[in-house]
């Protein structure tokens, strides 16, 4: 039978995340801004220019071998930090079982970062979602379109300055106002003929 049940051990862990952070620091000394730790998880905060080079190194290095891009997202630190956006990459190595988080800083006036699709093809939709929600442009992405919101939506919903209730009704998405208008028209339709 093609499918077999295998026993996977529980207690094997890879490198200590702090050592990985040191390794990155050693490889890209001028790129790493800071290393943060919280609940045994280590974040390496880097500059955005060489972000993909760092990721590629993490992916290709035989000792690190971060083959699994767990998650790619962005955070809007408006009012909290000087540099407004951070693109967050959660990486995991299924072979060696270690985890690291890379946070690349993206300033507000130039929301651009290189795309990670050449490294992990799974980054495709994650990056589209980031673009959709935060307006961060991933240069080199094969097909950067809105994904969850309608194509002609205005604004970036997950930014902190976007109201929770959405835009005002008169500024709302045309698709929605159209539906409202049409339902109003149909309500007046004379069914009896």
């Amino acid at each position: 039978m093609a499918v077999t049940e295998v026993r996977i051990s529980i207690h094997t862990t890879g490198l200590n995340p702090k050592d990985i952070a040191e390794k990155i620091k050693g490889q890209f000394p001028d790129q790493v801004i800071d290393v943060a730790e919280f609940r045994d998880q280590v974040s390496v905060i880097i500059k955005r220019d060489q972000a993909v080079a760092v990721l590629k190194y993490l992916h290709d290095d035989p000792v690190l071998s971060f083959d699994h891009l767990q998650d790619l997202t962005a955070v809007d630190y408006k009012g909290k930090k000087d540099i407004r956006f951070e693109v967050v990459y959660n990486l995991y190595s299924t072979r060696y079982r270690h985890h690291i988080r890379i946070r690349a800083q993206v300033p507000e006036n130039d929301t651009k970062i290189n795309s990670a699709v050449p490294v992990w093809s799974g980054a495709d939709w994650h990056e589209r979602e980031c673009f959709d929600m935060f307006g961060i442009e991933f240069t080199g992405h094969p097909d950067l379109r809105r994904i969850l919101m309608p194509e002609d939506w205005e604004g970036y919903p997950l930014r902190k300055d976007y109201p929770l209730k959405g835009p005002e009704l008169d500024k709302d998405w045309p698709g929605f106002t159209d539906v409202l208008k049409r339902s109003k028209e149909l309500r007046e339709f004379d069914w009896e003929g």
């Binding site: 529980i10 093809s121 495709d124 994650h126 979602e129 919903p157 929770l164």
Partner: protein, 490 residues
């Protein structure tokens, strides 16, 4: 030669078929635009987002405890697993541990949810390929599991049973007995499904060597769960980063070799047996003890202590002490019944006829001007003014109840404060890896709540799985990656 000539004369182009968002086989509101040449797929463009409800944005405005029901609405087929994923992540963020019994119960219900999810997957996958009877056989067993969910929390689909710091309530003995009976019978039921499709020549022709994806490519595309393991990558978060009671049970992980639709199907079928086995082990080992963490910071105050105020048969009335009231208008705004009137900077008044005894004014007042009059229901304002005493001179039980009520109010309204930091916690839900990434700024609400939904990634893999196959294989591919659009669109 002739074909080339013909192409010069006639212009040919692919037929563009719009599959979905309303289509019997797209499992919700997935829309695929297929470019087909004859019956062969040339290009697939998936469109998602028809069910986008902005759960991530909503989560930013709710406290960690309030956002829990939102996770039910993501993958409504296995809501229990989502809840567990969420509470495990929040517990790690707060740095608390659920009691042992709660962990065991969560693992049990999580595996039940895995079985019920895989049953629904098998049912719809088989129905899409045309095996109608498997569909109803699977629903027979799923019904049993949903009834069991109903037994422990009253809900069948959107359960919200696990809580941060444990579970909502302990499981009754009948639940364990019925579940034990289920695990006894379930392996023979799996055989029943397999007799219908496992060695069926048509089923094999439809699944073997369809949608093949290699191990490297699968992991590179971000596939997780059984979809990834069908390609032969031994990545299971229950083993790699054990949470709850998974480090205390003994189970194997099914791994495929070829990475085709049939291998993924077999992986899930074997997972059903493993989950069944896990449940049996957990029921046998289930330890006694509390099911909720013993920390007032994470639990609502006990209801019976608040009874003197909240119980409807206690004939109490709320009254504003004229002397203490500064006329700030807070209570007026908080009153849902609009029973409080008064000018600014002058003492307010409660219209007893409109008052619904909600205690909102009591907890909002900062000047301790709102008091409770026992047995004051139906009395006139003058009479109440006679009977009313300042809040700190009230009887001890009412005073305590009042304090607890304020606490409860704060718990719901603000939520306990989380330490500052960011955290990514993944759990193995039936569909793959469900990750929660929290950025906490030290307040009671997440600064950023990110959901890594497996269905979203898997839907993105559809073009890779479909191109080059026939129209009918698109249906098999949608089935094999096991997506739920509620989770995909969030």
């Amino acid at each position: 030669m002739i074909q080339k000539e013909a192409e010069k004369i006639f212009e040919t182009r692919e037929l563009n078929v719009n599959m979905g968002p309303q289509h019997p086989a797209t499992h919700g509101v997935l829309r695929l635009v297929l470019d087909i040449d004859g019956e062969t797929i040339v290009k697939v463009t998936p469109y998602v987002g028809y069910l986008h409800r902005g759960i991530e944005k909503l989560g930013e405005s709710l406290s960690y405890f309030q956002a829990l029901p939102l996770t039910d609405r993501m993958d409504y087929v296995s809501a229990m697993s989502n809840n567990i994923g969420y509470v495990v992540a929040v517990e790690k963020l707060f740095g608390i541990e659920a009691p042992e019994r709660a962990k065991f119960i969560r693992t049990i219900v999580g595996e039940m949810s895995r079985i019920s999810n895989h049953l629904l997957w098998l049912a719809t996958h088989a129905l899409d390929i045309g095996a109608m009877t498997v569909f109803l056989y699977c629903f027979r067993e799923r019904e049993w599991l949903l009834d069991l969910f109903e037994m422990i929390c009253g809900a069948r689909l959107t359960v919200t049973y696990p809580r941060v710091g444990g579970v909502r309530n302990d499981v009754p003995q009948e639940f364990l007995e019925s579940l034990w009976k289920f695990t006894d019978e379930f392996p023979s039921r799996i055989l029943e499904y397999e007799t219908l499709i496992d060695q069926n020549r048509i089923w094999l022709q439809r699944t073997v060597d369809i949608g093949v994806i290699s191990a490297e490519e699968a992991i590179n595309m971000g596939m997780t769960g059984p979809t990834l393991r069908g390609s032969g990558v031994p990545y299971d978060i229950r083993k790699h980063m054990p949470y709850d009671a998974y480090d205390k049970v003994d189970f194997d992980v099914p791994i495929g070799t070829k990475g085709d639709t049939y291998d993924r199907y077999r992986c899930r079928m074997l997972e059903l047996r493993q989950s069944n086995n896990i449940i049996r082990q957990l029921i046998e080992k289930l330890p006694p003890g509390p099911v909720m963490v013993d920390d007032p910071k994470f639990t609502l105050p006990p209801k019976d202590k608040m009874m003197p105020i909240t119980h409807p048969t206690k004939e109490i009335a709320y009254f504003i002490l004229e002397k203490a009231c500064k006329g700030c208008g807070m209570c007026m705004r908080a009153c849902p019944a609009k029973a409080i009137t008064g000018e600014k900077k002058a003492a307010h008044k409660i219209n007893q006829a409109l008052c619904v005894n909600c205690a909102n004014c009591l907890v909002t007042c900062k000047f301790k001007s709102v008091t409770v009059v026992s047995g004051g229901k139906g009395l006139s304002d003058e009479k109440l003014a006679e009977l009313a005493v300042a809040p700190d001179q009230l009887p001890e039980d009412i005073k305590q109840a009042q304090q607890l009520l304020v606490k409860q109010f704060e718990f719901i309204k603000k939520g306990p404060k989380a330490p500052e930091g960011d955290l990514y916690v993944a759990t193995e839900v039936p569909k793959g890896e469900l990750g929660f990434y929290f950025v906490s700024d030290g307040s009671g609400k997440p600064f950023r709540m990110r959901l890594r939904a497996p269905s979203f990634i898997h839907a993105g893999c559809l073009p890779r799985l479909c191109v080059g196959h026939l129209v009918a294989d698109v249906i098999a591919a949608i089935g094999t990656i096991d997506i739920v659009l509620g989770e995909c669109d969030r």
